[in-house]
């Protein structure tokens, strides 16, 4: 594969036009085949710990309070208080006004604070509001910004608007010291409706400078699915082949069980490959998944099935 510099803004539209189509039946069949992998014993233990380390522990409710976020952050620090060998999660994910609260509890721990921004989840707000939303979250200490694309603009064919917004939000992620909060771009695949759109939106977000592409807000059904995630993993794999830059993938919403999480890890492993098998390049946007992972982890340790009373709530 020849590696060239990343596409300029004017090259993006033809780039998207040239992408091969996606055959839905074939894509779903491949995802279903990957889901039949049987991960046992030591492989399962490895997968569970890896999955825990990839969780972006999330609360995104209108009813969120500082107390709720402190509780979530404490859970992120000590997912299983009864077992010091249990890994910590990758990040907590909250609304912008609660970033500071989360950061306060986490202190210097190597756990990111991800903030949703850009008028999450709908993205229906003026550009200035979206930029302010992002700037405030970064100033409050967010290390990661989960922005939403303008699905309306995308579906109306105004790809340039979608592209320019991502570029602008990426600029808003910069800190005075020259460092930058990482940018995850949420495609809201459930609203894009077709796999062809998901592939195009993935490439559009990558070309505009996304550090991560993320499936969903969790507020729209369907949220993350295995076929959509497989497709996005193909996209980051092909993008790195073409332009040399690695980009992460984050399925979010609807992943609740260890069994599901392992299917995703198998899909990462056999699609994008080993380089993505790290929280640096793959995350799960989830809330209840963590406790299921912990219960399965306890089962491997003790040989007995655990119950919800044996894991803590956030």
């Amino acid at each position: 594969m020849t590696t060239t510099s990343e596409p300029a803004a004017s090259d993006v539209a033809p780039l998207l036009t040239d992408l091969p189509g996606v055959d839905a039946v074939g894509l779903e069949a491949r995802a279903a085949a990957l889901a039949t992998r049987s991960i046992k014993k030591e492989a399962k233990a490895t997968a569970i710990d890896l999955a825990i380390s990839m969780v972006d522990l999330t609360t995104l409710e209108g009813a969120d309070t500082p107390g709720k976020v402190r509780s979530l952050a404490a859970k992120a620090l000590r997912p299983d208080p009864s077992d010091p060998t249990c890994p910590q999660v990758a990040a907590v994910c909250v609304y912008p006004d609660l970033v500071a609260t989360a950061r306060e509890v986490l202190g210097d721990a190597p756990i990111g604070v991800a903030s949703v921004a850009t008028a999450f989840p709908s993205g229906r707000a003026p550009m200035s509001v979206k930029v302010d939303d992002t700037t405030m979250a970064v100033e409050a200490g967010a290390s990661e910004i989960d922005m939403v694309i303008d699905r309306g603009a995308f579906l109306a064919g105004d790809l340039r608007k979608v592209y320019d917004e991502i570029v602008a939000i990426r600029a808003a992620c910069e800190r005075p010291d020259g460092s930058r909060a990482h940018l995850k771009v949420i495609l809201e695949t459930g609203e894009l409706a077709t796999y062809d759109n998901v592939r195009r939106a993935s490439w559009l977000a990558m070309a505009a400078g996304a550090d991560f592409i993320k499936t969903s807000t969790g507020k729209v059904s369907p949220a993350a699915t295995l076929p959509v995630t497989l497709l996005m993993l193909e996209a980051v794999r092909d993008y790195r082949d073409a332009f040399g830059r690695q980009i992460g993938v984050k399925p979010a919403g609807g992943i609740r069980t260890t069994k599901d999480a392992i299917k995703y890890l198998v899909t990462v492993n056999e699609t994008a490959g080993l380089d993505w098998m790290t929280p640096t390049w793959f995350r799960f946007g989830a809330s209840s998944l963590l406790n299921d992972l912990l219960m399965q982890r306890q089962k491997l340790t003790t040989g007995r099935y655990a119950g919800p009373d044996y894991v803590t709530i956030d």
Binding site: R30, R37, A43, P110, D211, V266, N269, L274, W281
Partner: protein, 490 residues
């Protein structure tokens, strides 16, 4: 992406073996004649081995002429006294029963199939055995509707069917043969392949469990000699054979001048044609399943890949990368993608033909993979730089070996695809509907898969043009092979 990149973690899949305990292997098996297991008349037997380990699984009776006579006689009696007189809706209910028992005992059948044949449990569990049950369920529904099959208002069964099946899909091929034959009111004598007789004998037990009247299904085990005795037996009205084109030719000669009806499903050398506007990732999956499904022991395998030249490099990169994820090894491991070659004989044939590829200047590539030390194995292999003049582009290898050719225009793709004595199947990959249909029109093959490959369904007719045989199995057309037209509109 985080400020301190965390090194990746390799996920090495631990062994995930499917338990053999569900299978109750007996040390020796007899023939199934007239509803009971019996010893062969002359006491001869042969061994069937697990091709993944060369372990002997069981001794199996080898049917001689006298045994074939007895089986045909039992089938004739059952035909005349019971099966041909039974109302269709009663025959239907027997077939529904068999379909249900096949589903109930599916795990046992899958494990036994993988043990005896060497195919991955993932395939026997998810493809072969479910299809087998579906095949009986589908044809059960025809048993009481034959007047709607387009063969006149009162079509008639033929009588006794002699059926000989191959080792690549032992139980699935059995279902393709037995289900339509019984639905139409015929009785059968079936000979499974020499290297894979065990699931046919378990099927015999399922017939007993379903209380199928004795003699309706008879299973005679053996090798080529038994098969010859069966298809040339004067007491059979119908011969159905799936296997090599050479044997098919011999059978066609042997029934010449008789009243026997014949259907043949023979070899193939399918072209899988990939245009530059194909859905690439799915096309790569289709290429992989087209040639590596069932170790390439598939008559309709996509063994010739025809790639449009302007996307050749990209497609080959993707194909090779995908092939590195194929897991070759223990067929009973749930994560195995490519299992064992069915026999030493077949392994030798694949090896020999692949060598001609080397000798004739094609370029060989295989992903790195550790093959087990015992058993019969062949790494997934592709040959590039192949032309229609290479033996590996003309002869059926029947193994995990893909020959890659290129083309420039649709016309050239059609010409190359059709440039073979075979005509069983073909694949077309393009996002353009009108091109799919135009290619389908011009390809001389009995099955054309568009943007998919190796799909089978009891409702869908399957069979070949030219030297791939004649007659169809599956769907309404599959009934015609086992019925004589009768009544009005015939």
């Amino acid at each position: 992406m985080t400020d301190h990149a965390i090194p990746p973690v390799a996920l090495e899949y631990a062994p995930a073996p499917e338990s053999r305990a569900i299978v109750d292997l007996r040390p020796s098996y007899g023939l199934f004649v007239d509803g009971a297991f019996v010893d062969g008349a002359d006491g001869r037997s042969f061994k069937t081995v697990n091709p993944a380990s060369e372990e002997v699984l069981a001794e199996v009776a080898e049917a001689g002429d006298a045994d074939v006579d007895a089986a045909v006689a039992a089938a004739r009696r059952a035909y005349q006294r019971v099966w041909s007189r039974m109302p269709g809706h009663e025959r239907a209910k027997y077939l529904y029963r068999i379909a249900r028992i096949l589903a109930e005992r599916s795990r046992e059948l899958a494990v036994l199939e993988s043990l005896d044949n060497g195919k991955p449990i993932r395939e026997s569990r998810d493809v072969d055995v479910p299809l087998v049950s579906q095949w009986f369920f589908y044809y059960a529904g025809w048993a009481d509707k034959l007047e709607h099959a387009g063969l006149g208002t009162s079509p008639r069964p033929l009588g006794v069917a002699a059926q000989v099946i191959p080792w690549n899909f032992p139980l699935l091929m059995l279902s393709w043969k037995i289900a339509p034959a019984l639905a139409a009111g015929n009785t059968v004598v079936l000979k499974p392949a020499e290297t894979t007789p065990l699931t046919a004998l378990l099927f015999a037990e399922i017939c007993q469990q379903a209380d199928l009247p004795p003699g309706v299904v008879n299973i005679v085990t053996g090798a080529g000699e038994t098969g010859r005795a069966l298809v040339s037996h004067p007491g059979v009205d119908k011969v159905a054979f799936t296997g090599s084109t050479d044997v098919g030719r011999q059978i066609a000669r042997s029934v010449a001048g008789t009243d026997k009806r014949l259907t043949l499903e023979l070899g193939g050398k399918a072209a899988n044609i990939l245009f530059d506007d194909a859905p690439l990732d799915q096309a790569v999956e289709g290429i992989v399943s087209g040639i590596f499904f069932n170790q390439g022991h598939v008559c309709c395998a996509g063994s010739r890949l025809l790639v449009q030249e302007n996307v050749y490099d990209d497609v080959m990169d993707r194909l090779k990368r995908r092939m590195t994820t194929l897991r070759v090894g223990d067929p009973l491991d749930k994560n195995t993608d490519v299992g064992a070659i069915n026999s030493r004989e077949q392994l030798d044939r694949i090896t020999e033909l692949a060598r001609t590829g080397d000798a004739e200047g094609a370029e060989r590539w295989s992903p790195p993979c550790d093959l087990p030390s015992s058993g019969f194995w062949y790494a997934p292999t592709i040959f590039t730089g192949v032309t229609q003049a290479h033996r590996i582009a003309r002869e059926e290898i029947f193994g995990p070996v893909l020959s890659v050719l290129t083309f420039r225009t649709p016309d050239e793709a059609v010409a190359k695809a059709n440039n073979t004595p075979y005509g069983l199947s073909a694949g077309v990959w393009t996002e353009k509907g009108s091109r799919i249909l135009a290619m389908a029109d011009r390809l001389r093959a009995g099955v054309v898969w568009a943007n998919t490959f190796n799909k089978f369904d009891p409702a869908s007719p399957f069979g070949g043009y030219k030297e791939s045989g004649y007659g169809r199995e599956g769907g309404r057309h599959g009934l015609a092979a086992y019925l004589a037209e009768g009544g009005e509109d015939a």
